[in-house]
Amino acid sequence: MVSTQAQKSIFYRLHIDPWLLIGIFCLMTLSLITLYSVSPDWVIPQLIRLVIALSVMLAMAQIPPEVYQRWTPAIFIISVLLLIAVLVFGHTGKGAQRWLDLGFTKFQPSEIMKLIMPFGVAYYISRYTLPITFKKAVIALLIVIIPTLLIAKQPDLGTSILVASSGLFVLFLSGISWFYIAIAVTAVLAFAPVLWFYLMHDYQRTRVMTLFNPEADPLGAGYHIIQSKIAIGSGGVWGKGWQQGTQSQLEFLPERHTDFIFSVFSEEFGFMGILLLLTIYLFIIGRGLWIANQAQDAFTKLVAGGIILTFFVYIFVNIGMVSGLLPVVGVPLALISYGGTSIVTLLAGFGVLMSFNTHKRFNRK
């Protein structure tokens, strides 16, 4: 083995990417500061979750890419079966069947699917020469669509979007022809009315309608989005100051510590705070894409790209929905929102990225 400076470093030996880690720590700090403002009670539980998530990340980083590749088909198929099991035996909570009761604990198979989807698609695609043929692209598409529909049926629109996009991004990165992409987009547009009239639930339709005119029902369906926009807008350039956000402190904002934490952040830290936050996100995404490019083979490249793009989708959907650009679907703000599952899933993904970046079978310059 030829050593480079990077290989010598303690980070390399621990299979940690320091740049990603810095970005993650910055986000965690902002998360704790904002959660403290919402209610100091959230800080300690969140800290515990962060420690757990970081441990998971570290563990994932230790696993070499070959192991991931080897286990992908089995885990993917089990995940799909679990999703089916949820629909059959699942535990209903808040009107949606998302939980599987294992006796000692409940868990959401859709979270595993979020993580495993890029692996599954990448595994299939990377067996062939890129770019793949139309027929193979259709099969890859099916690998994406089946779990997506299973999750959408629970119903969990937010997760199904994340799952679908993570799979589709892998397809896109694999260099699938622009012509096929154009066909797919056209097909989706053609399918949209069917989705709207037959597949979507009433409450989902209401959310979309609310997006276009929240003031139509300011105390009902539009309440959340109106209050959120007021919170963001009234933050101004510099914000109202930490713990000074009236919209959040006086409980006008819903779901302040989870899905709408961006509104709290914007209200208290203003446009400047948002620019800082988005800069950190962009830095992490940039680093992630760089890692993907540096990856050794098609499988790792595609998985890494899929993971980092899913991370971006989290951010875009969440900020888009709280600022009134997208309908309200339950997507938390990546690494800022309170809640264990999404943080563990995301950091597990970063662990995979780090693994790919630090396990190199071949010598590099």
């Binding site: 020469t129 890129l130 770019p131 991004f169 896109f172 990165l173 694999s174 260099g175 209050q227 926009k229 007021i230 919170a231 963001i232 807008g233 009234s234 933050g235 101004g236 350039v237 009236t246 919209q247 006086l250 409980e251 006008f252 914007s266 203003g270 446009f271 948002i274 620019l275 988005l278 996100y281 962009l282 995404i285 940039g286 894409l289 993907a292 490019n293 083979d297 098609a298 490249k301 595609l302 790209g305 793009l309 971006f312 875009f316 900020i319 888009g320 600022s323 009134g324 650009l325 071949f362 590099r364 310059k365």
Partner: protein, 625 residues
């Protein structure tokens, strides 16, 4: 960068393809973040002011703080109307769990009626859930104690203290003070017309009657404002700005509580009224209308049953007899009639006529009887007043004629509002030819004038008019206006109620006053005077006149149903008086419905009142008078 590896696949080409795609994706991501930032720029910077305003509208709420109502004192500073804390139980439904079970638990602790609980649920249905909703009004101190001890079991339930008007003397001052009660739609209309809507925001009560109504503007005060920060439940977090309300002005009345209570006690169960005025100022020392009722019932919100009982009572307690009761003045106006006769030269001081016990309208056979069947014999004006000779005044009235009686009597205030500072007053009737034409579409007959001559027939007066007329007489033509308000209590001293002065009554000869007044003095002091017995051995001099009105058709009010009181045919006993005779200080009227003779029944009440005034009150409170 990427090295070529031995493979059947073209790794270099794949890597290049992947890199191109990554670049496309990165550009797309930067673009997407640009879209987010543009939207956020629009929200936070372009629309900042609009969202800031909406954020403030969310959190800042302006609450009106109603003023405390001014207090009412009697002339000695004894409180007649006050504001007392009253406790009510209210619930913020949003903060409670198991509401029904808690209410049931409460029912075990004190007897909450089904009606109260139903009302509560009804109110709850239409209210926003974080607003406190009234469950029970007016808790007893015992209930407050029971609840306070168990308060920890009732999350969301709380006791609220409110100031409520309270009239400590109950029914004794109702016809003076009136009362306040809940503002109704009519009151609201009036408030809107006056442009006072802002002043009444947060106020639930308004003066409905008496002084409370007349001086509403003084007593009400100005509301304050509280700018508060509220959370999304409407709960007040902190006060940002507070402009305290200006309480209503405290007012002092001319009423003397001791004299008023004495008068009420003297009346007992008799229907009637007593008025005592300060003859020098017109200040109303006493105004009693009997029977009365408890004004506190109306403040609390009177039940339909109780209200109907008051409304349908034969004794008509709701009517203020002192100002709304219309009675024939009977002989009490003989002194004024004598003045008119002298002034119009129909008689002189020495004119004597023979009274055989009756009088016939010249040229007819219509006979008018004197109350003394066998007649008074030869009668002059002095004798006629002292012994209340009807025949003398039949003759005088006939000669004067209604066209001269009406304008003269109007100068004494008959047929018009006295100017008393309460709204519940009627003008009664000072008849004239025009009046009869308009009222009955009939001509005026001489016989009508004869009845008017002795204060009967169409002529009706209210006790306050009669008192005012007697005071004007006692003051030899100087007109005074009866007034209940004494002054407005203020830190910078008292403002005395200003009285408008009216033109005094001028007679052809000032001596005529002496003739009438001296005769009134004779009524009480001469052995032949009708009320001589009632006023024996007084410590003061007194002049008066009795009246005994026939009540075939006692008129009180338009809606007063005469048929219902048909059995009450006994005469009304009346007496007017002032004292001391030489320099009048007080003047009084007593009217007792269906009690009998004025001298025998009404005069003793005046005697007792005047004794109270001169022998007790005046001695005790010399410095106040």
């Amino acid at each position: 960068m990427v090295k070529k590896h031995v493979s059947i696949r073209n790794h270099s080409a794949e890597s290049a393809l992947f890199m191109r795609r990554t670049l496309v994706v990165f550009i797309a991501i930067v673009f997407a973040i640009g879209v987010l930032i543009t939207n956020l720029y629009y929200l936070q910077i372009s629309s900042f002011e609009s969202f800031q305003t909406r954020s403030n509208d969310n959190r800042i709420s302006v609450q009106t703080v109603p003023p405390n109502r001014g207090l009412i004192y009697d002339r000695n500073g004894i409180i007649l109307a006050e504001n007392r804390p009253v406790y009510s139980l209210q619930v913020i439904v949003k903060k409670t769990k198991n509401l029904k079970r808690k209410i049931n638990k409460l029912r075990n602790m004190f007897d909450l009626s089904n009606e109260e609980v139903e009302q509560f649920y009804k109110r709850n249905r239409y209210a926003r859930s974080f607003r406190p909703i009234l469950l029970r009004d007016q808790l007893s101190t015992e209930e407050v104690a029971i609840f306070t001890v168990n308060q920890h079991l009732f999350k969301g339930f709380s006791i609220k203290a409110n100031l409520k008007r309270y009239y400590p003397f109950g029914d004794a001052f109702t016809h003076v003070l009136g009362y306040i009660a809940k503002i109704n739609s009519k009151d609201l209309q009036r408030i809107e017309q006056r442009g006072d809507t802002a002043r009444y925001r947060g106020t639930y009560y308004i003066g409905k009657l008496g002084i409370e109504k007349y001086y509403e503007q003084l007593l009400h005060g100005q509301p304050g404002q509280r700018q508060v920060e509220v959370d999304s439940w409407g709960k007040v977090i902190r006060v940002l700005n507070f402009k305290p309300p200006v309480p209503g002005r405290d007012i002092k009345l001319n009423i003397d509580i001791q004299l008023q209570l004495k008068a009420q006690q003297l009346l007992g169960d008799t229907r009637g009224s007593v008025i005592v005025l300060d003859a020098r100022t017109g200040g109303v020392l006493t105004l009693v209308s009997n029977p009365s009722y408890d004004p506190n019932l109306f403040v609390q919100g009177i039940s339909n049953k109780k209200y109907n009982a008051l409304l349908s009572s034969k004794d008509r307690p709701l009517i203020n007899r002192a100002t709304q009761g219309r009675y024939p003045p009977a002989s009490t106006i003989k002194p004024q009639m004598a003045l008119l006769a002298l002034n119009t030269k129909v008689i002189t001081e020495h004119t004597k006529i023979k009274d055989p016990g009756w009088w016939i309208v010249p040229g007819s056979k219509r006979r008018f009887r004197d109350w003394k069947r066998w007649g008074h014999g030869m009668v002059d004006v002095n004798h006629a007043i002292e012994q209340s000779c009807d025949t003398f005044f039949y003759d005088a009235a006939y000669k004067i004629g209604i066209d001269r009686i009406n304008p003269f009597m109007q100068q004494f205030g008959f047929g018009d509002y006295s100017g008393l500072d309460i709204y519940e007053e009627t003008k009664a009737i000072m008849p004239s030819r025009e009046w009869k034409r308009a009222r009955f579409n009939a001509p005026w007959y001489d016989g009508d004038t004869i009845s008017v001559g002795i204060g009967q027939g169409y002529w009706t007066v209210t006790p306050i008019q009669l008192t005012q007329a007697t005071a004007i007489l006692a003051r030899k033509g100087e007109v005074i206006t009866p007034h209940i308000l004494h002054s407005i209590v203020s830190k910078s001293g008292a403002f005395n109620a200003v009285q408008e002065s009216k033109m005094p009554i001028k007679l052809q000869d000032e001596h005529y006053w002496e003739i009438a007044l001296k005769a009134m003095y004779g009524v009480t002091s001469k052995r032949t005077g009708t009320a001589h017995r009632a006023f024996a051995n007084t410590s003061y001099t007194i002049a008066g006149k009795s009246g005994t009105a026939q009540v075939i058709n006692m008129k009180e009010d338009e809606e007063y149903d005469a048929s219902k009181i048909a059995e009450r045919h006994r005469d009304n006993a009346m007496f007017v008086a002032f004292a001391p005779y030489e320099s009048p200080e007080i003047v009084a009227t007593v009217i007792l419905e269906n009690a009998g003779g004025g001298s025998s029944h009404a005069a003793p009440i005046i005697r007792a009142l005047f004794d109270e005034y001169f022998d007790k009150i005046k001695v005790q409170r010399l410095e106040d008078f």
